[in-house]
Symmetry: C2
């Protein structure tokens, strides 16, 4: 079985990459350059693919007609927990739908059977295209719309981010080489929704997040 | 109600454009430049949007990692009817999934409710992502994955291509300004699957296809 991992270079998808290498005969990774402020994450995606000797494809997405604070040229990224209403400005409309569709097409093109997502039970309902019901329907569309009946697999669907830190640490992942921060600074800010959450996920495991925060 | 029409510049989607202008309060069109041999179709898409005074957005899709005879640099486009097995070479993996996802994101971004597709009952099952079951699931994914619960609407779902010619002719569409041919020639070839089918659709209406064939 061959799998294509959707790899951002963040904690969740990097954990999914290492997990997939253990569970599939062959693995490739696909990443997206979509004008994100935090394009730095792609350097980390590259690092892990080189480390694992995995083919890595970066696809350029034209999101110039979309508005979001997550995109360069957008407004400032809000700080604080994800629950806050203002995190809504970070939504890129149907971003995951677009990326998943590309990954499904890529999988079909290179004769893979599964597309792997690092999504988990702690993903936020402020992003409609992170909800489990969305992935469920998207999977049905992928299965119907490809010769290979491609499946979208979320191995961490019933786990929380701190579970991923536990699993990934056991797999020997160097989490200092992952990027979660939504700002595009030299170092992660430690204050935006993703940073706050990530720090807590390590604390729950009595670990210290190895990121070099501002 | 506002609708976004997925417009290729071909016969089907151009008919959907004129049909939507009649049925919606506001209409925009979205087209894709994906390295297709027949990129010429975009000139016709532009023509009709200008004619109808409709906002038109062209999105660049990076399909450089996909193989298909439909893409520039691919093998030759086969000739003859669609049913032939060799038309399979024109499949671009999950192309419609990718385009529809973009259209759904675009619709969400500009506060539209519906995405309009010119697909019809004569679309070919050699393209898995043209099948009705695919659009059904994709619609469910769009609804679940957006705040606006975007709907994908195929108004011609139970009609054949010749019905579209009848409807569009009544709407006054100048079909000489649409492009269906899969080859990138100066004039349409009249021999590939789309050309053959289009000529027949006019004949069924006792009309002559106004295209200037080779």
């Amino acid at each position: 079985m061959k799998a294509i991992v959707v790899l951002s270079g963040g904690l969740d998808s990097t954990t999914a990459l290492y997990h997939s290498v253990k569970h599939y005969h062959e693995v490739e990774a696909i990443s997206f350059n979509y004008g994100q402020n935090h394009v730095k994450e792609l350097e980390f995606a590259k690092f892990h693919c080189a480390h694992l000797n995995i083919k890595h494809t970066i696809i350029n997405l034209d999101f110039s007609c979309f508005e979001s604070s997550l995109l360069s040229g957008g407004e400032d990224i809000p700080e604080g927990h994800y629950e806050a209403e203002n995190m809504k400005s970070t939504v890129v409309p149907f971003r995951n739908g677009i990326m998943l569709s590309y990954a499904v097409g890529y999988a079909e093109n290179c004769n893979a059977q599964d597309v792997i997502l690092g999504s988990h039970a702690g993903d936020h309902t402020i992003y409609p295209d992170c909800r489990e019901i969305f992935t469920h329907h998207m999977n049905a569309a992928a299965e119907a719309g490809t010769y290979n009946a491609i499946q979208i697999v979320s191995p961490f669907n019933h786990l929380m981010k701190w579970d991923l830190v536990r699993i990934g640490s056991a797999l020997g992942i160097d989490y200092s080489k992952t990027w979660s921060c939504y700002k595009g600074g030299e170092k992660p800010c430690g204050k935006c929704g993703t940073c706050v959450e990530r720090i807590e996920a390590f604390e729950k495991n009595k670990l210290v997040d190895p990121s070099d925060y501002e």
